[in-house]
Protein backbone atom coordinates (compact mmCIF):
# COMPACT_ATOMS: atom_id res chain seq x y z
CA UNK A 1 0.00 0.00 0.00
CA UNK A 2 1.31 3.45 -0.73
CA UNK A 3 0.02 6.99 -1.08
CA UNK A 4 -0.61 8.66 -4.40
CA UNK A 5 -1.15 12.28 -5.24
CA UNK A 6 -4.28 13.79 -3.74
CA UNK A 7 -5.13 16.90 -1.84
CA UNK A 8 -5.16 15.06 1.44
CA UNK A 9 -2.01 13.04 0.83
CA UNK A 10 -0.52 14.65 3.90
CA UNK A 11 -3.18 13.06 6.02
CA UNK A 12 -1.45 9.74 6.08
CA UNK A 13 1.91 8.19 6.54
CA UNK A 14 3.69 10.80 4.51
CA UNK A 15 2.49 13.48 6.87
CA UNK A 16 5.00 12.33 9.41
CA UNK A 17 7.82 12.65 6.90
CA UNK A 18 6.58 16.02 5.70
CA UNK A 19 6.66 17.33 9.23
CA UNK A 20 10.15 16.05 9.80
CA UNK A 21 11.52 17.48 6.57
CA UNK A 22 9.97 20.88 6.78
CA UNK A 23 11.45 23.78 8.60
CA UNK A 24 8.18 25.69 8.66
CA UNK A 25 6.55 26.02 12.04
CA UNK A 26 3.33 24.14 12.67
CA UNK A 27 1.07 26.12 14.96
CA UNK A 28 -1.28 24.48 17.43
CA UNK A 29 -4.84 25.68 17.88
CA UNK A 30 -5.62 26.60 21.52
CA UNK A 31 -7.66 23.42 22.07
CA UNK A 32 -5.04 21.11 20.52
CA UNK A 33 -4.70 18.96 23.66
CA UNK A 34 -8.46 18.56 23.93
CA UNK A 35 -8.68 17.24 20.35
CA UNK A 36 -5.90 14.79 21.03
CA UNK A 37 -7.64 13.59 24.18
CA UNK A 38 -10.80 13.07 22.12
CA UNK A 39 -8.82 10.68 19.91
CA UNK A 40 -8.43 12.99 16.92
CA UNK A 41 -5.89 12.23 14.28
CA UNK A 42 -4.00 15.51 14.00
CA UNK A 43 -2.42 16.54 10.71
CA UNK A 44 -0.64 19.67 9.52
CA UNK A 45 -2.99 21.78 7.41
CA UNK A 46 -2.32 25.35 6.28
CA UNK A 47 0.42 25.68 8.87
CA UNK A 48 -1.72 24.40 11.73
CA UNK A 49 -1.96 21.05 13.42
CA UNK A 50 -5.63 20.25 12.87
CA UNK A 51 -8.03 17.42 13.79
CA UNK A 52 -8.73 15.60 10.53
CA UNK A 53 -10.82 12.78 11.98
CA UNK A 54 -12.04 11.73 15.43
CA UNK A 55 -13.66 8.39 14.58
CA UNK A 56 -14.73 7.93 10.97
CA UNK A 57 -14.92 10.37 8.05
CA UNK A 58 -18.23 8.87 6.94
CA UNK A 59 -19.85 8.85 10.38
CA UNK A 60 -18.77 12.42 10.97
CA UNK A 61 -20.13 13.45 7.57
CA UNK A 62 -23.52 11.88 8.29
CA UNK A 63 -23.60 13.43 11.77
CA UNK A 64 -23.52 16.86 10.14
CA UNK A 65 -26.09 16.04 7.44
CA UNK A 66 -28.54 14.46 9.91
CA UNK A 67 -27.75 15.81 13.37
CA UNK A 68 -25.24 18.26 14.76
CA UNK A 69 -21.47 18.40 15.12
CA UNK A 70 -18.68 20.86 15.85
CA UNK A 71 -15.58 21.70 13.85
CA UNK A 72 -12.75 23.59 15.51
CA UNK A 73 -11.71 25.93 12.72
CA UNK A 74 -9.74 28.29 14.91
CA UNK A 75 -6.99 28.35 12.29
CA UNK A 76 -9.05 30.76 10.20
CA UNK A 77 -7.86 34.38 10.07
CA UNK A 78 -9.74 37.49 11.24
CA UNK A 79 -8.87 41.07 10.27
CA UNK A 80 -10.69 44.11 11.63
CA UNK A 81 -10.92 47.14 9.36
CA UNK A 82 -12.04 50.43 10.88
CA UNK A 83 -12.32 53.98 9.69
CA UNK A 84 -14.33 56.36 7.52
CA UNK A 85 -12.92 54.78 4.37
CA UNK A 86 -13.08 51.12 5.44
CA UNK A 87 -15.81 50.45 2.88
CA UNK A 88 -13.75 52.07 0.12
CA UNK A 89 -10.82 49.78 0.90
CA UNK A 90 -13.10 46.73 0.95
CA UNK A 91 -14.70 47.75 -2.35
CA UNK A 92 -11.24 48.01 -3.87
CA UNK A 93 -9.90 44.66 -2.67
CA UNK A 94 -13.03 42.51 -2.95
CA UNK A 95 -15.08 41.49 -5.96
CA UNK A 96 -18.54 41.55 -4.38
CA UNK A 97 -20.43 44.77 -3.66
CA UNK A 98 -19.97 45.35 0.07
CA UNK A 99 -21.93 48.62 -0.10
CA UNK A 100 -25.18 46.65 0.15
CA UNK A 101 -24.21 45.23 3.55
CA UNK A 102 -26.14 46.52 6.54
CA UNK A 103 -25.01 46.12 10.15
CA UNK A 104 -25.22 42.48 11.20
CA UNK A 105 -25.01 41.13 7.65
CA UNK A 106 -22.33 38.94 6.10
CA UNK A 107 -21.15 38.61 2.54
CA UNK A 108 -19.13 35.96 0.72
CA UNK A 109 -16.58 37.53 -1.59
CA UNK A 110 -13.19 37.07 -3.13
CA UNK A 111 -10.09 39.19 -3.49
CA UNK A 112 -8.91 39.39 -7.09
CA UNK A 113 -5.20 39.85 -7.63
CA UNK A 114 -3.77 42.05 -10.38
CA UNK A 115 -2.81 39.11 -12.60
CA UNK A 116 -6.22 37.58 -13.23
CA UNK A 117 -6.28 35.24 -10.23
CA UNK A 118 -7.64 35.18 -6.71
CA UNK A 119 -5.69 36.18 -3.58
CA UNK A 120 -8.28 34.49 -1.36
CA UNK A 121 -11.97 33.99 -0.82
CA UNK A 122 -13.41 35.42 2.35
CA UNK A 123 -16.39 36.47 4.45
CA UNK A 124 -17.02 40.13 5.18
CA UNK A 125 -18.93 40.99 8.36
CA UNK A 126 -20.35 44.49 8.71
CA UNK A 127 -19.99 45.11 12.45
CA UNK A 128 -21.21 48.69 12.34
CA UNK A 129 -20.81 51.75 10.16
CA UNK A 130 -17.10 52.13 9.36
CA UNK A 131 -16.18 48.78 10.95
CA UNK A 132 -15.83 45.39 9.27
CA UNK A 133 -14.42 41.97 10.13
CA UNK A 134 -12.82 39.98 7.31
CA UNK A 135 -12.53 36.21 7.77
CA UNK A 136 -9.88 34.61 5.58
CA UNK A 137 -8.33 31.21 4.96
CA UNK A 138 -5.69 30.07 7.44
CA UNK A 139 -3.11 29.31 4.78
CA UNK A 140 -3.41 32.82 3.37
CA UNK A 141 -3.38 34.95 6.52
CA UNK A 142 0.01 36.54 5.91
CA UNK A 143 -0.46 36.86 2.14
CA UNK A 144 -3.89 38.47 2.55
CA UNK A 145 -2.69 40.81 5.27
CA UNK A 146 0.23 42.00 3.15
CA UNK A 147 -2.04 42.42 0.14
CA UNK A 148 -4.63 44.50 1.98
CA UNK A 149 -1.95 46.59 3.71
CA UNK A 150 -0.38 47.27 0.31
CA UNK A 151 -3.70 48.50 -1.03
CA UNK A 152 -4.65 50.50 2.05
CA UNK A 153 -4.08 54.01 0.81
CA UNK A 154 -7.14 55.09 2.80
CA UNK A 155 -5.69 55.21 6.31
CA UNK A 156 -8.03 52.43 7.36
CA UNK A 157 -7.07 51.09 10.77
CA UNK A 158 -6.29 47.40 10.37
CA UNK A 159 -5.91 44.83 13.15
CA UNK A 160 -4.91 41.23 12.63
CA UNK A 161 -6.96 39.44 15.30
CA UNK A 162 -6.33 35.94 13.92
CA UNK A 163 -4.56 34.73 17.06
CA UNK A 164 -7.19 36.22 19.38
CA UNK A 165 -10.19 34.22 18.22
CA UNK A 166 -11.24 30.63 18.31
CA UNK A 167 -13.89 29.58 15.85
CA UNK A 168 -16.29 26.69 16.33
CA UNK A 169 -18.52 25.76 13.43
CA UNK A 170 -21.58 24.09 14.91
CA UNK A 171 -23.29 22.60 11.89
CA UNK A 172 -26.23 20.40 11.09
CA UNK A 173 -30.05 20.48 11.05
CA UNK A 174 -30.17 20.20 14.86
CA UNK A 175 -27.64 23.00 15.49
CA UNK A 176 -30.19 25.68 16.40
CA UNK A 177 -31.98 23.46 18.91
CA UNK A 178 -28.73 22.14 20.36
CA UNK A 179 -27.37 25.64 21.04
CA UNK A 180 -30.57 27.43 22.00
CA UNK A 181 -30.10 27.06 25.76
CA UNK A 182 -26.80 28.97 25.52
CA UNK A 183 -28.19 32.23 24.18
CA UNK A 184 -31.15 34.58 24.47
CA UNK A 185 -31.15 35.12 20.72
CA UNK A 186 -33.76 33.05 18.91
CA UNK A 187 -31.45 30.95 16.76
CA UNK A 188 -34.23 29.34 14.74
CA UNK A 189 -35.23 32.64 13.18
CA UNK A 190 -31.72 33.94 12.50
CA UNK A 191 -31.34 34.46 8.78
CA UNK A 192 -28.56 32.84 6.81
CA UNK A 193 -25.54 35.16 6.50
CA UNK A 194 -26.47 37.32 9.48
CA UNK A 195 -24.76 37.56 12.85
CA UNK A 196 -25.14 39.03 16.29
CA UNK A 197 -22.55 39.90 18.90
CA UNK A 198 -23.54 39.12 22.44
CA UNK A 199 -23.57 36.73 25.33
CA UNK A 200 -23.27 33.04 24.60
CA UNK A 201 -22.63 30.31 27.16
CA UNK A 202 -22.27 33.08 29.78
CA UNK A 203 -19.42 34.70 27.87
CA UNK A 204 -19.89 38.16 26.38
CA UNK A 205 -18.66 39.52 23.04
CA UNK A 206 -19.20 36.26 21.20
CA UNK A 207 -20.02 36.46 17.50
CA UNK A 208 -22.87 34.11 16.60
CA UNK A 209 -22.88 33.84 12.84
CA UNK A 210 -25.49 31.96 10.80
CA UNK A 211 -22.96 30.68 8.29
CA UNK A 212 -21.06 27.53 7.50
CA UNK A 213 -19.24 25.50 4.89
CA UNK A 214 -21.40 22.39 4.91
CA UNK A 215 -24.81 23.30 3.47
CA UNK A 216 -26.34 21.61 6.51
CA UNK A 217 -27.28 24.77 8.37
CA UNK A 218 -25.90 25.89 11.67
CA UNK A 219 -23.72 28.55 13.19
CA UNK A 220 -20.14 29.67 13.41
CA UNK A 221 -19.26 30.83 16.91
CA UNK A 222 -16.33 33.23 17.29
CA UNK A 223 -14.96 32.98 20.82
CA UNK A 224 -12.22 35.07 22.44
CA UNK A 225 -9.34 32.64 22.93
CA UNK A 226 -9.33 32.79 26.73
CA UNK A 227 -12.89 31.39 26.83
CA UNK A 228 -12.45 28.73 24.17
CA UNK A 229 -12.43 25.69 26.43
CA UNK A 230 -15.31 26.95 28.54
CA UNK A 231 -17.49 27.61 25.48
CA UNK A 232 -16.52 24.32 23.79
CA UNK A 233 -17.56 22.42 26.94
CA UNK A 234 -20.84 24.33 27.23
CA UNK A 235 -21.64 23.57 23.59
CA UNK A 236 -21.11 19.87 24.22
CA UNK A 237 -23.18 19.92 27.41
CA UNK A 238 -26.01 21.75 25.69
CA UNK A 239 -25.85 19.51 22.63
CA UNK A 240 -25.46 16.19 24.45
CA UNK A 241 -29.09 15.19 24.14
CA UNK A 242 -28.93 16.00 20.41
CA UNK A 243 -25.99 13.65 19.91
CA UNK A 244 -23.49 16.44 19.25
CA UNK A 245 -20.02 15.23 18.18
CA UNK A 246 -16.66 16.71 17.29
CA UNK A 247 -16.05 16.60 13.52
CA UNK A 248 -12.74 16.63 11.65
CA UNK A 249 -11.53 18.43 8.56
CA UNK A 250 -11.89 15.24 6.52
CA UNK A 251 -15.68 15.40 6.79
CA UNK A 252 -15.57 19.16 6.33
CA UNK A 253 -14.02 18.60 2.92
CA UNK A 254 -16.58 16.01 1.75
CA UNK A 255 -19.42 18.16 3.08
CA UNK A 256 -18.25 21.28 1.25
CA UNK A 257 -17.60 19.33 -1.92
CA UNK A 258 -21.15 17.95 -1.92
CA UNK A 259 -22.24 21.60 -1.91
CA UNK A 260 -19.87 22.56 -4.71
CA UNK A 261 -18.18 25.13 -2.47
CA UNK A 262 -14.69 26.10 -3.62
CA UNK A 263 -11.68 25.32 -1.47
CA UNK A 264 -8.86 27.80 -1.87
CA UNK A 265 -5.71 26.05 -3.02
CA UNK A 266 -7.72 23.32 -4.75
CA UNK A 267 -10.47 24.87 -6.84
CA UNK A 268 -9.36 28.49 -6.82
CA UNK A 269 -5.90 30.02 -6.46
CA UNK A 270 -3.62 32.84 -7.58
CA UNK A 271 -4.08 31.81 -11.22
CA UNK A 272 -7.84 31.17 -11.52
CA UNK A 273 -10.24 33.98 -12.29
CA UNK A 274 -13.41 34.34 -10.21
CA UNK A 275 -15.40 34.20 -13.44
CA UNK A 276 -13.77 30.94 -14.48
CA UNK A 277 -14.47 29.58 -11.00
CA UNK A 278 -18.19 30.25 -11.21
CA UNK A 279 -17.91 33.10 -8.74
CA UNK A 280 -19.58 35.56 -11.11
CA UNK A 281 -22.34 35.88 -8.53
CA UNK A 282 -19.86 37.53 -6.13
CA UNK A 283 -18.11 39.52 -8.87
CA UNK A 284 -20.05 42.75 -9.14
CA UNK A 285 -18.64 45.02 -11.79
CA UNK A 286 -20.87 47.97 -10.92
CA UNK A 287 -17.87 49.24 -8.92
CA UNK A 288 -14.14 49.17 -9.53
CA UNK A 289 -12.15 46.55 -7.68
CA UNK A 290 -8.58 45.47 -8.32
CA UNK A 291 -8.25 44.07 -11.86
CA UNK A 292 -11.66 45.49 -12.78
CA UNK A 293 -10.78 45.99 -16.46
CA UNK A 294 -9.59 42.42 -16.89
CA UNK A 295 -12.67 41.00 -15.16
CA UNK A 296 -14.97 43.22 -17.22
CA UNK A 297 -13.27 42.02 -20.38
CA UNK A 298 -13.68 38.40 -19.27
CA UNK A 299 -17.32 38.98 -18.49
CA UNK A 300 -17.91 40.49 -21.93
CA UNK A 301 -15.80 38.06 -23.97
CA UNK A 302 -16.45 34.93 -21.96
CA UNK A 303 -13.87 32.65 -20.41
CA UNK A 304 -12.04 29.80 -22.11
CA UNK A 305 -12.28 27.40 -19.17
CA UNK A 306 -14.85 26.95 -16.45
CA UNK A 307 -15.07 25.20 -13.11
CA UNK A 308 -17.78 22.54 -13.32
CA UNK A 309 -19.18 19.86 -11.10
CA UNK A 310 -19.43 16.31 -12.39
CA UNK A 311 -20.67 12.95 -11.21
CA UNK A 312 -19.13 9.65 -12.22
CA UNK A 313 -21.19 7.42 -14.49
CA UNK A 314 -18.59 4.64 -14.49
CA UNK A 315 -17.52 3.28 -11.10
CA UNK A 316 -14.54 5.22 -9.84
CA UNK A 317 -13.45 8.07 -7.61
CA UNK A 318 -12.04 11.29 -9.04
CA UNK A 319 -9.21 13.04 -7.17
CA UNK A 320 -7.47 16.38 -7.49
CA UNK A 321 -5.02 16.67 -10.44
CA UNK A 322 -6.57 13.85 -12.46
CA UNK A 323 -6.81 14.63 -16.16
CA UNK A 324 -10.16 15.29 -17.83
CA UNK A 325 -10.54 14.14 -21.45
CA UNK A 326 -13.17 14.21 -24.16
CA UNK A 327 -14.38 11.08 -25.88
CA UNK A 328 -11.60 11.36 -28.47
CA UNK A 329 -9.03 11.23 -25.68
CA UNK A 330 -7.93 14.88 -25.94
CA UNK A 331 -7.12 16.68 -22.70
CA UNK A 332 -9.88 19.17 -21.91
CA UNK A 333 -9.18 19.94 -18.28
CA UNK A 334 -8.11 18.93 -14.79
CA UNK A 335 -9.92 17.76 -11.67
CA UNK A 336 -9.46 20.14 -8.72
CA UNK A 337 -11.42 18.25 -6.01
CA UNK A 338 -12.96 14.83 -5.90
CA UNK A 339 -14.21 12.17 -3.55
CA UNK A 340 -16.86 9.53 -3.18
CA UNK A 341 -19.91 11.44 -1.96
CA UNK A 342 -20.87 9.95 1.41
CA UNK A 343 -24.47 11.04 0.81
CA UNK A 344 -24.82 9.80 -2.77
CA UNK A 345 -22.40 6.87 -2.69
CA UNK A 346 -20.89 7.78 -6.07
CA UNK A 347 -17.80 9.64 -7.22
CA UNK A 348 -18.25 13.40 -7.46
CA UNK A 349 -15.79 16.08 -8.39
CA UNK A 350 -15.06 19.59 -9.54
CA UNK A 351 -12.62 20.62 -12.19
CA UNK A 352 -11.80 23.12 -14.88
CA UNK A 353 -12.82 22.15 -18.40
CA UNK A 354 -12.65 23.90 -21.73
CA UNK A 355 -15.82 26.01 -21.95
CA UNK A 356 -17.16 23.89 -24.84
CA UNK A 357 -17.61 21.05 -22.34
CA UNK A 358 -18.96 23.09 -19.43
CA UNK A 359 -22.65 22.71 -20.21
CA UNK A 360 -24.74 20.65 -17.81
CA UNK A 361 -25.17 17.20 -19.33
CA UNK A 362 -21.83 17.22 -21.19
CA UNK A 363 -20.17 13.83 -21.23
CA UNK A 364 -16.58 13.98 -20.06
CA UNK A 365 -14.01 11.37 -19.10
CA UNK A 366 -11.80 11.27 -16.04
CA UNK A 367 -8.47 9.54 -16.28
CA UNK A 368 -8.54 7.54 -13.04
CA UNK A 369 -5.23 5.79 -12.55
CA UNK A 370 -4.85 4.96 -16.21
CA UNK A 371 -8.51 4.15 -16.79
CA UNK A 372 -10.71 6.46 -18.81
CA UNK A 373 -13.98 6.60 -16.88
CA UNK A 374 -17.18 8.28 -18.03
CA UNK A 375 -18.62 11.20 -16.07
CA UNK A 376 -21.25 13.85 -16.64
CA UNK A 377 -21.26 17.58 -15.98
CA UNK A 378 -24.03 18.38 -13.50
CA UNK A 379 -25.51 21.39 -11.80
CA UNK A 380 -24.19 21.93 -8.30
CA UNK A 381 -24.82 21.46 -5.43
CA UNK A 382 -24.58 17.70 -5.71
CA UNK A 383 -26.75 17.35 -2.61
CA UNK A 384 -29.66 19.67 -1.77
CA UNK A 385 -28.74 22.50 0.54
CA UNK A 386 -30.45 22.32 3.92
CA UNK A 387 -30.34 26.09 4.50
Amino acid sequence: MGNKAGEFIFVFLTSIKLMENTTSIITQVPLNDLHESLGAKMVPFAGFNMPVRYSSDLEEHHTIRNGVGVFDVSHMGEFRLKGPQALELIQLISSNDASILTNGKIQYSCMPNDKGGIVDDLLIYKIEDEEYLLVVNAGNIQKDWDWIVKNNSFEVEMTNESADWCLFAVQGPKAAEALQSLTATDLKVMEYYTFIIGEFANVSNIIISATGYTGAGGFEIYVPKAFALQVWNKIFEAGASYGIKPIGLGARDTLRLEMGYCLYGNDIDDTTSPLEAGLGWVTKLNKKCINYEYLLQQKENGVSKKLVGFTMIDRGIPRGHYEIQNEAGETIGTVTSGTQSPTLGIGIGMGYVHSAYAKVGSEIFILVRGKKLKAQVVKMPFVNRQV
Binding site: M1, K4, F8, F12, V52, L58, H61, I317, R319, Q340
Partner: protein
Protein backbone atom coordinates in the same frame (compact mmCIF):
# COMPACT_ATOMS: atom_id res chain seq x y z
CA UNK B 1 -3.47 -2.80 17.67
CA UNK B 2 -3.65 -6.33 16.38
CA UNK B 3 -0.86 -7.98 14.34
CA UNK B 4 -1.56 -11.73 14.15
CA UNK B 5 1.68 -13.67 14.58
CA UNK B 6 0.78 -16.33 11.99
CA UNK B 7 0.82 -13.71 9.20
CA UNK B 8 3.72 -12.18 7.26
CA UNK B 9 3.92 -8.46 6.55
CA UNK B 10 5.45 -5.89 4.19
CA UNK B 11 6.76 -2.41 4.81
CA UNK B 12 3.98 -1.21 2.49
CA UNK B 13 1.40 -2.44 5.02
CA UNK B 14 0.14 -5.59 3.30
CA UNK B 15 -0.24 -8.87 5.15
CA UNK B 16 0.04 -12.37 3.66
CA UNK B 17 -1.34 -15.66 4.91
CA UNK B 18 0.18 -18.80 3.39
CA UNK B 19 -2.27 -21.61 2.59
CA UNK B 20 -0.36 -24.36 0.75
CA UNK B 21 1.14 -22.73 -2.35
CA UNK B 22 -1.58 -20.08 -2.30
CA UNK B 23 -1.50 -16.86 -0.36
CA UNK B 24 -4.28 -14.63 0.91
CA UNK B 25 -3.35 -10.95 0.91
CA UNK B 26 -4.87 -7.90 2.56
CA UNK B 27 -3.87 -4.68 4.32
CA UNK B 28 -3.02 -4.36 7.98
CA UNK B 29 -5.08 -2.93 10.79
CA UNK B 30 -2.60 -0.06 11.00
CA UNK B 31 -3.09 0.67 7.28
CA UNK B 32 -6.90 0.69 7.41
CA UNK B 33 -6.80 2.96 10.43
CA UNK B 34 -4.49 5.43 8.70
CA UNK B 35 -6.62 5.41 5.56
CA UNK B 36 -9.96 5.82 7.29
CA UNK B 37 -13.24 4.64 5.80
CA UNK B 38 -12.57 2.48 2.79
CA UNK B 39 -15.10 2.97 0.01
CA UNK B 40 -13.71 1.15 -3.04
CA UNK B 41 -11.17 -1.56 -3.85
CA UNK B 42 -10.08 -1.91 -7.45
CA UNK B 43 -8.24 -5.08 -8.48
CA UNK B 44 -7.68 -4.99 -12.26
CA UNK B 45 -5.05 -7.78 -12.20
CA UNK B 46 -7.18 -10.90 -11.71
CA UNK B 47 -5.82 -13.71 -13.89
CA UNK B 48 -2.46 -12.05 -14.41
CA UNK B 49 0.98 -12.65 -12.96
CA UNK B 50 2.15 -9.74 -10.86
CA UNK B 51 5.81 -9.38 -9.94
CA UNK B 52 7.20 -8.90 -6.46
CA UNK B 53 6.62 -5.28 -5.40
CA UNK B 54 4.43 -4.43 -8.41
CA UNK B 55 1.01 -2.80 -8.10
CA UNK B 56 -1.88 -5.27 -8.11
CA UNK B 57 -4.68 -2.85 -7.35
CA UNK B 58 -5.72 0.18 -5.37
CA UNK B 59 -7.69 0.97 -2.27
CA UNK B 60 -9.78 4.13 -2.08
CA UNK B 61 -10.66 5.72 1.24
CA UNK B 62 -12.88 8.77 1.55
CA UNK B 63 -9.88 11.08 1.55
CA UNK B 64 -7.19 9.28 -0.39
CA UNK B 65 -6.22 6.51 -2.76
CA UNK B 66 -3.33 4.11 -2.25
CA UNK B 67 -1.66 1.53 -4.43
CA UNK B 68 -1.61 -2.08 -3.35
CA UNK B 69 1.76 -3.77 -3.83
CA UNK B 70 2.27 -7.49 -4.36
CA UNK B 71 4.38 -8.86 -1.47
CA UNK B 72 5.73 -11.73 -3.61
CA UNK B 73 5.46 -12.71 -7.29
CA UNK B 74 2.41 -14.71 -8.22
CA UNK B 75 -0.76 -15.05 -10.22
CA UNK B 76 -3.81 -13.23 -8.88
CA UNK B 77 -6.46 -15.94 -8.78
CA UNK B 78 -9.39 -14.29 -7.10
CA UNK B 79 -10.69 -11.09 -5.55
CA UNK B 80 -12.81 -10.98 -2.42
CA UNK B 81 -16.09 -10.07 -4.13
CA UNK B 82 -17.72 -9.31 -0.77
CA UNK B 83 -15.72 -6.08 -0.86
CA UNK B 84 -17.64 -4.87 -3.94
CA UNK B 85 -20.74 -4.16 -1.87
CA UNK B 86 -19.06 -3.97 1.56
CA UNK B 87 -15.63 -2.33 1.24
CA UNK B 88 -15.91 -1.38 4.93
CA UNK B 89 -15.03 -5.00 5.79
CA UNK B 90 -11.41 -3.90 5.31
CA UNK B 91 -11.94 -1.50 8.22
CA UNK B 92 -13.92 -3.81 10.46
CA UNK B 93 -12.09 -7.09 9.86
CA UNK B 94 -8.81 -6.42 8.01
CA UNK B 95 -7.31 -9.88 8.62
CA UNK B 96 -10.53 -11.83 8.11
CA UNK B 97 -13.54 -10.86 5.99
CA UNK B 98 -11.58 -7.90 4.66
CA UNK B 99 -9.02 -9.99 2.75
CA UNK B 100 -8.39 -8.72 -0.76
CA UNK B 101 -6.89 -11.27 -3.15
CA UNK B 102 -5.92 -14.91 -3.39
CA UNK B 103 -2.60 -15.48 -5.17
CA UNK B 104 -0.74 -18.52 -6.52
CA UNK B 105 2.80 -17.80 -5.42
CA UNK B 106 5.69 -18.39 -7.80
CA UNK B 107 7.94 -19.42 -4.90
CA UNK B 108 6.45 -20.17 -1.50
CA UNK B 109 9.90 -20.29 0.10
CA UNK B 110 10.22 -16.54 -0.51
CA UNK B 111 7.64 -15.99 2.24
CA UNK B 112 10.40 -16.32 4.80
CA UNK B 113 11.88 -13.06 3.48
CA UNK B 114 8.81 -11.04 4.55
CA UNK B 115 8.48 -9.27 7.89
CA UNK B 116 7.31 -11.08 10.99
CA UNK B 117 4.50 -9.61 13.08
CA UNK B 118 7.04 -8.35 15.62
CA UNK B 119 9.19 -6.72 12.90
CA UNK B 120 6.19 -5.06 11.33
CA UNK B 121 4.90 -3.82 14.66
CA UNK B 122 8.28 -2.27 15.33
CA UNK B 123 8.22 -0.64 11.90
CA UNK B 124 4.92 1.12 12.47
CA UNK B 125 5.72 1.93 16.07
CA UNK B 126 2.41 0.59 17.33
Amino acid sequence: MNFPSELKYTAEHEWLRLEGDHAIIGITEFAQKELGDIVFIDIPTIGTVVGDGAVFGSVEAVKTVSDLFMPLSGEVLAFNTALESSPELVNTDPYGKGWMVKVKLADTAAVSGLLSAADYQKLVGA
